[in-house]
């Protein structure tokens, strides 16, 4: 008997890409997708369930699908146009609570996979490099999104403790980067001039957009208990990233940095989430041994990811005409 998988947030980028990949796997018998709006048309055998994950109704819908694996992709890592900060919190926290409540009712569920975030580690000057999974919460969770992620993780930990027969897997993602991906980060890197914090050169880490989805697929195929870091091995300094991208860094003195980002956002510069301020100062790197050895998936290195992103950045390096940037930011 094949596996039956439910994907939440199937109309978002991550959910639909994952559904597309799972449809191709012969061992997956059934794919269901849950979202408030229908996914793009090219999904062939995914059954679309129109429901809001924040609605208690999902605890009636999910048991009916008789799925054995639930992949929770309906987690927003950054505010999107049309989805404000409040909604972000609602979707991330309340949505996850509803989902877990629904899974309690569904006896068929054996595996829950969550697309979480490495923001739980925090970007601190005293933080070590290459956090391993057991090193979460060494530092206080400072921003709202970090606290959301922390709350989310504790719900799943609690759930895992009460249901020892269920594999609860928390994927902790570093920011993704790829030519086709739209995010505040890629918009930031597409600007011809990029504000950076004066005197700081954080070590950053990215995961290739395709690898980020492939890691979800690998997790569905070989789920493991607990948290797993997802990132491209290695790291890259922000200064080197900007040089490779041919971007001109504009150093902003530390105390003014947050305010400058805010002011720039008023003038049409892409708005970065509040986590970006410490992130662009201290950086975060995580260790991906567990992903490679236990899940059996090796993503592209951070440097390869960056090099690929850079070659597709705008077809040329340096001061190219930046009119396409505007359309991208609006889109």
């Amino acid at each position: 008997m094949g596996r039956r998988v439910l994907i939440t947030g199937v109309s978002g980028y991550w959910g639909s890409e994952l559904a597309r990949r799972l449809e191709r796997l012969p061992e997956i018998e059934y794919v269901a997708g849950l979202d408030v709006r229908p996914p793009a048309g090219d999904l062939r055998r995914t059954e679309f369930i129109r429901a809001d994950i924040r609605n208690p109704l999902v605890s009636k819908l999910i048991p009916a699908t008789e799925v054995d694996t639930v992949v929770h992709c309906d987690i927003l890592l950054a505010p999107e146009p049309g989805k404000g900060r409040r909604q972000l919190h609602d979707i991330n926290v309340i949505g996850s609570l509803q989902l877990l409540a629904a899974c309690e009712r569904a006896d068929s569920v054996e595996t829950i996979i969550v697309r979480g975030s490495a923001a739980i580690y925090g970007a601190e000057p005293s933080g070590p490099e290459f956090f391993r999974e057991e090193m979460a919460r060494h530092f206080p969770l400072r921003t709202r999104f970090q606290r959301d992620v922390g709350e989310l993780e504790s719900y799943f930990e609690n759930y895992a403790r009460r249901h020892v027969d269920v594999t609860a897997m928390m994927l902790r993602y570093q920011p993704s980067l790829s030519a086709t991906l739209e995010s505040p980060l890629t918009r930031y890197l597409r600007q011809p001039v990029v504000p950076v914090r004066m005197g700081f050169d954080p070590l950053l880490q990215f995961v290739h957009g395709d690898d980020a989805v492939a890691a979800l697929e690998a997790a569905v195929r070989r789920p493991v208990q607990g948290a797993v870091n997802v990132a491209g091995p290695g790291s890259i300094a922000l200064s080197r990233l900007l040089r490779l991208a041919g971007r001109i860094p504009v150093p902003v003195p530390g105390p003014l940095f947050g305010a400058t980002l805010g002011a720039a956002a008023q003038l049409g510069f892409p708005r970065l989430p509040p986590e970006a301020v410490p992130w662009l100062r201290n950086g975060v790197t995580i260790d991906v041994t567990r992903l490679i050895e236990e899940v059996g998936f090796t993503p592209r290195t951070t440097l390869e990811t960056v090099r690929e992103f850079v070659t597709h950045l705008d077809g040329r390096s340096g001061r190219g005409p930046s009119d396409d940037v505007v359309t991208v930011a609006v889109a």
Binding site: S126, E129, M135, L241, R243, N282, D287
Partner: protein, 402 residues
Amino acid sequence: MADRGETQRERARRLRVAGDTDAPARERPRPDYMEPAIEIETPEPEAVEIEVAPAEPELEPGLEQEPELEPEPAPEPPRRRPRIPPPPPPRRRRRMRNPVGFAPALGGGIARGLDLPAALDAAAVLLPGPGRETAERIAGRLRGDYDQDEWGYDEELVKLVRPFFEFMYERWWRVDAVGVERVPAVGPTMIVANHAGVLPWDATMMNVAIVMHHPQPRQPRFMVLDWAFRLPWVSSFMRRVGGVVASPYNAIRLLDQGHLVMVFPEGAKGAGKPFSARYRLQRFGRGGFVEIALRTGASIVPVAVVGSEEIYPKLGESRLLARLLGAPYFPITPTFPALGALGAVPLPSKWRIEFCPPIDLSGYGPQAAEDRTVVFELSEQVRDTIQQALLDNLVKRGSAFI
């Protein structure tokens, strides 16, 4: 022992396979039983590449081959000199190597819409040999064309700043280094040293001693108080020259990768102690460094640094200023802060560094890290070794400043 060699070799291999991190080992003669060290660096005059030599009118034809030139949409000046120069038209050569024309060409390139690296590359052809290489290197760096390992360590930059530290080592402090060859050439190794002198000059001098005098030198990585990573410029510089945040996790990862790691168990207590307490070791924390060495199978090399205590004789400190700056301490020395930035120039004391014989911990096994008695015993043993070596070398050094 053979067993241990095997694991070290295994580590070195793993690290080399890990690939993107370290610079490729350079071939050089070594004892046949040893694997190539992971980051052998030859202290050869590569750093000279920054020196811009005066314009030489003639170059020997043997110097023709340059590092590969980028086929940029180049401006008018032809990029390659004629390969077989039958009596070279001297006029033409002079026109090509025209350092005076460099700046206008650079400006022109930028005005034509090239970005800075491309313009620099294009204008570089006007410079004579060494200057041209430098300009091309700078263009390469501006393009991001250099290596940094996963810790942010930038070997090229390290070579660039090395002459300055070598000057401090040889001329300013006239360092005598004893027993450098005792530092194992491969495998996880922890250098444990006394810490003094407010700024981490002692770490840099040990670094120079190893790179200059070790038969198979490798670049040490050092643990830096996290406060330094809160400071602009300091943080990015530290990281590029091999510093990491002083965290046991970082130390374990570096040692697992087979690196040479410097730790200062006294921490800020050592660096910030008053002049009256000089050459008296402070408490060695909770012996965490021994735990790490036991867990990673690293050998410990105790090191005594004599001379660093006199470079900034700390007479007092200002709690208020320290709190305002968020610093662990704010030193008051005879020259600082009275002379401002000039007061940060260290006094030219005479230094002596002794590398003591390594303590091999492989007999204990990693589970000994849980045993507080063993950890405290070893910690105390290392501390005694360093304290004894400090007093010995203090006598051997003689006068503090001559």
